[in-house]
């Protein structure tokens, strides 16, 4: 179980997170929704200490950690038990797809090269990219790069995977293949926290939807509750706007 309590974060005078709390059970898929600038991405980055929160507590598998005062060792432990999927893929440019997936297995988990190679190849196969194993990121399409990014995360066998808008940098026709792989991860029963703008995907995959706006959690509940019976005015407005946009696309 992962629990965050009272997370606050300021950039200069701009308060991005104003007391955000979230509880995620094992195996649960949580989708964070909200307009841009609502603090979703910052919140996700705080969990992995890519941003240092100004205050707040993290309970990771029963271990209590202060987000502000966490020591190097604690941060490393969180990072070694979690994985992150970046908006712009964040693949290591100097390594092939296979090496990207192997990197954490050998350098962090200290697995032997053969073992790491086997796991990496299996995982690449699982995301449908076995034939691209020896390609460098620059030789892959955006969708393929992101699938390698997901494979890199899954191969580490983490307790939780954090997705930061995994499809928003992709061309529209490449979004589908990537979402399909994320659904596959969800079916594996891995705990996931996903920031996304893909509404129908969120409905499909989420156990819980959290709507954020202006640095606070406005509303949370099951996808049905939030999408079809939103209680808060701000949620309704946001959904109406997004649904309209979707209609224009069709």
């Amino acid at each position: 179980m992962i629990e965050l309590r009272n997370v606050k974060k300021k950039f200069g005078n701009n308060e991005v997170l104003h007391d955000v709390s979230l509880k995620v059970n094992d195996g649960e898929v949580v989708v964070l929704l909200g307009p841009s600038g609502s603090g979703k991405t910052t919140f996700l980055r705080c969990i992995n200490f890519l941003e240092r929160a100004d205050s707040g507590k993290l309970n990771f598998e029963g271990k209590e950690i202060d987000l502000k005062k966490a020591r190097k060792k604690q941060i490393l432990e969180i990072r070694r038990n979690s994985a992150f999927v970046f908006q712009n893929y964040g693949l290591f440019n100097n390594k092939t797809a296979l090496q990207n997936v192997m990197e954490g297995l050998t350098a962090v988990q200290k697995k032997s090269k053969e073992e790491a190679r086997k796991i990496a190849l299996d995982t690449l196969d699982w995301v449908g990219l076995k034939d691209k194993a020896d390609f460098f990121p620059s030789q892959l399409s955006g969708g393929q790069q992101q699938r390698v990014g997901i494979a890199r995360a899954v191969a580490l066998n983490p307790k939780v995977i954090l997705f930061d808008e995994p499809t928003s940098a992709l061309d529209p026709e490449l979004v589908g293949e990537t979402l399909a792989v994320i659904k596959k991860v969800a079916k594996k029963g891995i705990t996931m926290i996903i920031v996304t703008h893909e509404m129908s995907f969120a409905q499909d995959v989420a156990d819980k939807v959290v709507f954020m706006d202006g640095g606070v959690v406005v509303e949370e509940g099951s996808p049905d509750e939030v999408f079809y019976k939103p209680k808060e005015e701000r949620t309704k407005k946001f959904l109406a706007r997004i649904l309209h946009q979707d209609m224009y696309y069709i």
Binding site: L76, N93, N94, A107, L156, L162
Partner: protein, 233 residues
Amino acid sequence: MGSYFSSERFLERIGQILPYLVVNLKMVFWSMLFGTILAIGLAILRLKKIPVIEQILVVFISYMRGTPLLVQMCIAYYGIPIVFGNLFMSLFGINLNRLDSIIFVSIAFILNETAFLGEIFRSSILAVPVVQTEAGLTVGMTRLQTLFRIVLPQAIHVAIPHYGVDLIGVFHNTSIAFTLGVLEMMARAKTLGQASGHTIEGFVVVAIIYIIISLILKGLFCLLEKKLNTERR
């Protein structure tokens, strides 16, 4: 006009001057070796932005980049014995005034290279996108692991063309070492000229040697760059 340039003398000069190329290359080797090591330290220190140290480094780099190497060389030549002379005399019994001038010239070269290469390395590290570091950290690597496994290999790739240009620059700079009495190609050409009364051929030989070695170095770095590029793409 034929009397100024004789091809016989020209051929003779090649054999007389070429062995001294080793002296120039030695200066290049030592200044690149120590310059590179110190520059890596300088780049990392500057990236850490430690107050006071940062300001000192900025002044050091500005001085090294803003003043002529010839002046820096002379300051090292006259200044080091004055500042460190007594210390070396009492500690090791070495009279710094007696040391070969090539040592002072090399020290000036090394310090100069530290500043230039340091800036090349620093900007190369900065050229690697932040997300590369972040990706390394999220995979669970330590900062040091991320630096050595992910960031530096990419930074080196960025730095190599600049490093090549800089190396050729150092090679060219060794041509001013003769002004302090270092016995290298220029000095040799000069003494040969004074002894025979025919100077031009010697300096033409020096110019041609410089051209050929520069082209070879340039070619080598182009090859290296190409090799790295095909590995990547």
